[in-house]
């Protein structure tokens, strides 16, 4: 059952990376996460938002939607862009794969999202955009 919800729309500007991850961390704090869980969530959000800015919109203008939901024990995060989309999701998710190797990208983004969160799903349509869905359990069932 969803006990709280928030929605935010931001411009694809790189100084919004810090803003977005701090907002999600503050929202998640309602579930009383550990410092480590907060660090995991901030890092995963930072990766997804950065990808919207540099890959989806190629550093040009665009809008990013950020939706968070809380259940009694978990946080669900959706990060949506209307940018160029991902042609091959399986390839994009591989560790070290990057389509921008000369821009100092490491290809670690999806690997970090996958290992720091409990669930990651990627939906994308080329030319339409991408939706990243992540879930993390904050309180283990007693």
């Amino acid at each position: 059952m969803i006990i709280n919800e928030m929605k935010l729309e931001i411009k694809s500007k790189s100084n919004n990376e810090a803003f977005a991850r701090v907002v999600v961390a503050a929202f998640a704090s309602q579930l009383d996460p550990t410092i480590e869980q907060i660090a995991d969530i901030k890092t995963a959000v930072s990766e997804a938002i950065t990808n919207c800015i540099i890959h989806a919109y190629d550093m040009k203008e665009g809008n990013i939607e950020l939706k968070c939901q809380l259940t009694e024990d978990s946080i669900y995060i959706d990060i949506i862009d209307y940018g160029k989309g991902i042609e091959n999701i399986e390839m994009a998710k591989q560790t070290l794969y990057t389509s921008k190797p000369d821009a100092d990208r490491s290809g670690m983004g999806f690997t970090i999202m996958e290992s720091f969160m409990d669930k990651l799903t990627v939906e994308s349509i080329v030319g339409m955009g991408t939706k990243i869905h992540m879930e993390k359990v904050i309180k283990e069932a007693k």
Binding site: S14, E17, E36, T50, S106, I112
Partner: protein
């Protein structure tokens, strides 16, 4: 970010401050490349003591600088990385290209 160069030992010391993400990396990258080019050090020490946050952009920053250090034959070393930073460094296998030293005061 603070950059210091020791002329006698040719050691360059870089102290990162605050949060390392794609936004802050864009600024630090230019300064680092300028300093590396200007000083041609034989060793570069990255100090993470005052780093509060790092995502994979930090990995890209390190690997990118490592490439230019290779060209001038310089070594790179990482000191004072906290638990969160270290987890990301390990995940990316940075220990294969740079010496990661444990806590130094």
């Amino acid at each position: 970010m603070i950059c210091e160069f020791q002329k006698d030992t040719k050691e360059m010391y870089v102290k990162f401050e605050g949060e390392i993400d794609h936004h802050t990396c864009q600024i630090m990258k230019n300064e680092l490349d300028y300093e590396i080019h200007r000083n041609t050090p034989n060793k570069l020490v990255f100090d993470f003591k005052n780093v509060k946050f790092m995502d994979s952009s930090g990995i890209g920053l390190l690997i990118g600088r490592y490439k230019s250090l290779l060209r001038i034959g310089a070594d790179a070393e990482i000191i004072n990385a906290n638990k969160e930073v270290k987890r990301i460094l390990d995940m990316a296998g940075i220990f294969k290209i740079m010496l990661i030293k444990e806590e130094i005061a």
